[in-house]
């Protein structure tokens, strides 16, 4: 079964590879951009990295390098946005965590505002942040494979029935936890729509109107949740649960569907 899963994953990899641009080598372009970065030619490096991203490619390393390049150019909001995107793909990368911590320290937003959510919510987020969506999906496949394996063993080796029952129950628990976590992450991607403020200072207004009174201010790099969009305006929620309307162009969504 594991072999079947691995073969299937390889098939999908080939499927993705086939959809890539003919004659365009993103890996080569990535190396070129990294070379430009190492020569402190950040604007040129940025163009190449953005080109790769613009053609529909993504990887944790690409987003990480985009974050670094934007930070070098003093564009804090974009830097944090790309770091957050990289974090979705590589939540265990220590370099990335370090750079995010550093970029966050440059924010104007008071740290207390970022940590305004409940302690328990932050703990849950921290636990779920360890896994990637694809990682969890593969984990579920492996769990399914192992359950199948143990059931087949139980058919042929009746003496192992007791052991098999325990193993299957354990795997079922792992399965349930993984399914819950995956569901939460999918919910985050599909419905919560986390975003990062890109403009220096953004006025969040009571209504989606330019002349509406300002409710509160958002600073570059602040994390928000986009609740709904109406024309050029989006209703957003800050970490302290304050809700207001801002221009849709002033933020970037972290999860790309």
């Amino acid at each position: 079964m594991l072999v079947i899963i691995m073969v299937s994953i390889s098939i999908f990899s080939v499927h993705y590879a086939l959809s890539e641009d003919i004659g365009y080598d993103p890996y080569l372009k990535f190396n070129e951009a990294s070379l430009l970065y190492s020569e402190s030619r950040f604007e040129e490096a940025l163009k190449l990295y953005e080109d790769i991203s613009g053609r529909g490619y993504e990887s944790a390393a690409l987003y990480y390098n985009l974050g670094n390049t934007y930070l070098k150019l003093g564009v804090l909001g974009k830097a944090i946005l790309y770091y957050e995107r990289a974090l979705r793909l590589a939540p265990y990368d220590s370099d990335l965590k370090s750079n995010i911590r550093y970029a966050n320290s440059l924010k104007q937003q008071p740290a207390a505002m970022e940590n305004a959510s409940l302690w328990i919510n932050r703990r849950i987020d921290a636990v779920f942040a360890i896994f990637t969506v694809d990682g969890l999906t593969k984990l579920l496949s492996v769990v399914c494979g192992l359950v199948f394996l143990f059931l087949v063993i139980a058919v042929f080796k009746e003496g192992f029935a007791h052991f098999t029952r325990r193993a299957v129950i354990t795997l079922a628990v792992v399965f349930m936890v993984a399914v819950t976590t995956l569901s939460f992450k999918i919910y985050q991607i599909e419905y919560m729509r986390s975003a990062i403020v890109l403009d220096n200072i953004v006025d969040a207004r009571y209504e989606p109107l330019a002349e509406a009174p300002v409710h509160f201010k958002l600073y570059e790099g602040a994390r928000i949740i986009v609740l709904k969009t109406r024309g050029e305006w989006s209703q957003i929620k800050r970490a302290d649960n304050k809700i207001g309307w801002i221009q849709s162009s002033s933020y970037g969504i972290i999860d790309i569907n």
């Binding site: 003093g74 999906t137 569907n257």
Partner: protein
């Protein structure tokens, strides 16, 4: 023995002498309405002496720094645990003459042979403002003007002529006497053109005004004007509940305890504030609206090696007196060799505000961190003041790998001192040199239907394997079942072979083979020994299975034909053999179903 006896007698005598003394000693119940007040305020002290209804005013000892005045004495009757308690309450007013910590008591009075003893209580006298009278001299006249009222509310400010953004103090005070006041709400204040903070926690005090003992609840606040002109502050309004003696329900001993509750809303007279605009002449470019008297400090981190592209943190502190709401980050002179990030507020108190500014050197030739500047308007000197710090000198030198710079403390720029320290700093970790697996944006396995459908495969596989294994196991364990299954397959093969014999024309061989084939089929199908299968046996078996009588006849006929051909194998043509083969097929097909 005699010695022990003497000790015992002495002990008895000691107890006998001490007991009456102890029996005549009583505690004084002493209470203060406040233990921490400001200079100018007063404390009311009540002393209750049990069983001393006629006790005259006790003479209080002098306490240096405090003036203790006798107010009055009242009879005290109360019921505690079903027992009536009687006594005398003596009330004093303590007025501090200086600041400090004082101890009230312990007191020791003797009345009618009973010794009354009190505990000691500490009080603290501070120098802070606690009454509006200290803010404005004319408040005293307003207090005296309204002195007969049971409750009134006044509001004062420490200045009536201020500049835009210049902070000033407001105090609103509730005065009351002969009533109890509860549920006091924070005052509400009309303040068009003025910015006002929330009122701080109130302070309680007492004061004698024209011989009346008033309790005072004071609320303090800070305000500043946001536009010039003649502005009106107030009126301030306050709501609370009051308890006053209900004369209609007062009877005898309960007179003091019968009270009526009513809501009380009081309003102060408004104050006029003249607000002057800030002068335009001499206004510095770096001025952002700060008004007061401030000092500037600068702290630079890290103090070790700095590489190009690494961050330098400037902590710019502004301290002093003034309007900190309007204090913005000090201005740094533009310099193309640095990346400047927006400053953020690091910490903020009533007298200090600091800003964190991150700058990042882009070039190796940088010699100094630019100068920072902070300007404000001093309302006392009535002029703008500019404060500067820096520039901070940086010495650049080559290292083995790359150029690095060391930050030098800039207080004395004449001889830069090189600081040899471990490299400590903030910065970002270098880019990733390999792209990793580049894949399509938003492509996630959970969205791939084919991938998800693949998960059904193990289910089907498991079902198939389980069924096959079950069948295999039955074949091995259930001979009847195994033979029945085998019968059908063997009959099919046998009939094919019989047809090939028929085609070659061997009559005897054909009938002999097909007879054995059917015999073996019945043997396997009904789990009987092959050799014992005869026409009678098959008839009995088929009847037991309620087979069709016509089929039973056909089977009988088949067996008879086969027997006959064995003995007289002449006169049989191919057609007869085909009929026999068809009959055999029909028998097998019929038996398959039963």
């Amino acid at each position: 023995m005699i010695s022990k006896f003497k000790k015992f007698i002495l002990l008895i005598l000691l107890i006998a002498i001490t007991l009456p003394v102890l029996a005549q000693q009583k505690d004084i119940e002493i209470t203060l309405d406040n233990t921490e007040i400001s200079l100018g305020a007063s404390i009311r002290m009540d002393m209750v002496f049990d069983d001393a209804e006629d006790m005259p005013e006790p003479t209080m000892p002098e306490i240096k720094g405090l003036k203790i005045s006798y107010l009055r004495s009242t009879d005290m009757i109360s019921r505690l645990d079903g027992k009536i308690r009687r006594g005398r309450r003596h009330t004093y007013l303590i007025m501090p003459e200086t600041t400090g910590v004082f101890t009230i008591g312990p007191f020791d009075f003797v009345y009618n042979g009973t010794e009354y003893v009190s505990k000691k209580i500490g009080i603290r006298i501070t120098s802070g403002l606690s009454r509006p009278t200290e803010l404005k001299p004319e408040t005293a006249s307003e207090e005296e003007f309204r002195a007969k009222e049971n409750a009134f509310f006044i509001m004062v400010s420490d200045k009536d002529r201020v500049y835009v953004n210049e902070p000033f103090q407001i105090a609103a005070a509730l005065y009351y006497k002969d009533i109890q006041v509860t549920d006091i709400e924070y005052p509400a204040l009309d303040h068009e053109g003025l910015s006002i903070d929330e009122f701080k926690s109130p302070q309680a005090s007492r004061k004698q005004i024209k011989g009346y003992d008033y309790r005072i609840i004071t609320f303090k606040n800070t305000a500043f004007a946001i536009r010039p002109g003649d502005l009106k502050l107030g009126p301030a309004k306050i709501s609370c509940s009051m308890y006053a003696a209900d004369a209609s329900r007062s009877t005898g001993l309960a007179a003091g305890s019968s009270q009526k509750k009513a809501s009380l809303r009081l309003e102060s007279t408004p104050r006029n504030i003249t607000v002057l605009p800030l002068p335009q002449g001499g206004k510095p470019e770096s001025f952002k609206g700060a008004v007061g008297n401030f000092q500037l400090s600068l702290d630079v981190k890290p103090e070790g090696y700095i590489k190009t592209g690494e961050a330098i943190t400037l902590i710019m502190g502004v301290s002093g007196n003034g309007n900190f709401n309007m204090v913005s980050a000090p201005v740094i002179k533009e310099n193309q060799a640095f990346i400047f990030y927006n400053p953020s507020i690091e910490s903020e108190t009533d007298s200090y505000k600091s800003f964190k500014q991150i700058i990042m050197p882009k070039e190796n030739f940088i010699k100094e961190i630019p100068e920072i500047e902070f300007s404000f308007f001093d309302p006392i000197k009535e002029k703008y003041i500019i404060l500067k710090k820096g520039p901070i000198a940086i010495q650049v030198f080559e290292t083995e790998a790359r150029q690095a710079s060391t930050i030098i403390e800039a207080r004395d720029k004449t001889i830069p001192e090189k600081i040899e320290q471990e490299p400590i700093g903030e910065g970002i970790i270098y880019i990733k040199e390999t792209a990793g697996k580049l894949k399509g944006k938003g492509l996630r396995l959970y969205k791939d239907k084919t991938y998800l459908l693949l998960h059904l495969m193990p289910v089907f596989l498991y079902i198939s394997i389980a069924l096959l294994y079950k069948r295999h196991k039955r074949f091995k364990e259930d001979i009847r079942y195994a033979r029945a299954k085998k019968a059908q397959r063997q009959a099919r093969i046998g009939l094919k072979h019989a047809y090939s014999i028929l085609s070659s024309g061997g009559v005897e061989k054909f009938y002999s083979y097909i007879f054995e084939c059917i015999q073996e089929y019945f043997g396997n199908k009904f789990n009987l020994p092959h050799a014992g299968i005869t026409s009678d046996v098959t008839e009995r078996v088929l009847k037991s299975r309620n087979a069709d009588p016509s089929v039973i006849l056909q089977v009988k006929k088949f067996f008879d034909n086969c027997y006959l051909v064995r003995f007289t194998p002449y006169g049989y043509e191919k057609k007869d053999m085909l009929d026999t083969l068809e009959m055999a097929k029909m028998i097998i097909e019929y038996c398959r179903k039963i």
